[in-house]
Symmetry: C2
DNA sequence: TTAATTTTTTAGACTTATCTAAATTTTTTA
DNA sequence: TAAAAAATTTAGATAAGTCTAAAAAATTAA
């Protein structure tokens, strides 16, 4: 069994671990968990004690198989609940993250399985993030972002890298929702902004926005 | 704001307070909260500090308006989630209590309102218990139990006083689900058991069962 | 390659919720 | 109404998770 706090630490380690480095630093964890480095050191020692992480002093931590299972399971619950909130309770995609942060810690395997069935076995959450299956398998294929596209390339928006409500609201206002087909009309060297065509209308998009939108061709 | 633990204490005080006494004792709380009397004493002092309860040493506690609001709000959430689990996720009525014990602590007013709407504003939970409305109003009218009926009286089962899964499973096996019309055919002085007619079939029911089934005439 | 800076850990303290054992108060019994 | 029993509170500890301040280690810069 794992607590609310432990699940949040494991999830954070998972997310940082997938940003490239194989050892996640104390400081980076402290930052995304809104806590202090000294608290993180204490906590990761306890997680190592329970065999959820490997901990090397002054180097960092990474997940054991046991820790990975909990982290992915928690993310699976988070994303399934987000689908429920948006598709069944009519929440907007920028309103669900905080609530899902609580719901993800409800522990009942049966509940998750039935929720998943009720929702029709969704593959992605409202932000385009893949939902791990019951065995912990996760699809990973969102490698390109809008700013990677060349002039005249066409693509479809499939996800967001940044999840801040303000960003999601911006996308909604500018018709840049998931599933939208876009074409790059122009790119500017100066500030890396680009002009995209959305439903026949041209729009200027900043680099800040373009690098946070996942796209696929066709 | 109130924590998981505080909400459980307030809910317990509410339930015990509605069993007659105006002051709820330390020991009775310790029993239903599966904790020790000394822990309860510590906790109720903190609750009094926050103005959730009135506390009189050696006498007991009762809820303030603030405490009552939290208690009823928590019960409201619990029962709405139970409806969701049974009606939407196809859980059986004896499987939902433990999960609802966790879900009831998710704090988002918006979530509760939308869940209630999604469920079609149910008035009762799967065990026949009334769901408090958004203003904290609760319907209370389950005064009679099966054992109160006289011979030849007819009634409909509308709720259970005991919520143990084993009792609920017993009722299911014996066709004594909510909404069932029954008629008392005989009553035995000796052990207070009674014979009831259910869908044309006669069944013997123990006093233990009969006193835990809420009924209404007509 | 020493000095300065940054990162990480340790030490000691605090809060919440719990426990056991002992003390105190209330209730019951004789 | 005094003694016995039961209920309740207090005292002192513990575990989880957090903090600040200080020490130690690692990294970067001169
Ligand atoms: Mn989210
Ligand atoms: Mn999401
Ligand atoms: Mn219940
Ligand atoms: Mn119920």
């Amino acid at each position: 069994m794992s607590t609310f706090t432990e699940e949040n630490y494991l999830k954070a380690i998972y997310k940082l671990g997938h940003r490239g480095e194989d050892w996640v630093s104390t400081n980076s964890l402290a930052e995304i968990l809104n806590t202090k480095a000294s608290s993180v050191t204490d906590m990761v020692k306890k997680l190592a004690e329970k065999d959820f992480v490997n901990y090397k002093p002054y180097t960092g931590v990474n997940l054991t198989a046991k820790g990975l299972e909990i982290a992915v399971g928690t993310i699976r619950k988070h994303r399934l609940w987000e689908v429920f909130l948006v598709e069944r309770l009519d929440f907007k995609w920028d309103e669900v993250h905080e609530i899902a942060e609580e719901l993800e810690h409800i522990n009942s395997d049966e509940l998750v399985l039935r929720l998943e069935k009720f929702l029709g076995y969704p593959k992605y959450d409202p932000h385009g993030d893949p939902i791990p299956d019951r065995n912990g398998k996760v699809l990973h294929h969102k490698n390109r972002v809008l700013s990677d596209l060349k002039i005249n390339e066409e693509a479809i928006i499939v996800g967001v890298k940044e999840h801040a409500p303000s960003f999601l609201q911006y996308l909604e206002k500018h018709n840049l929702l998931l599933g939208t087909r876009i074409k790059v009309r122009n790119k500017f060297e100066f500030d890396h902004s680009l002009v995209v065509e959305v439903k026949g209308i041209e729009n200027t998009v900043s680099h800040q926005v373009a690098k946070n939108l996942y796209v696929v061709n066709e």
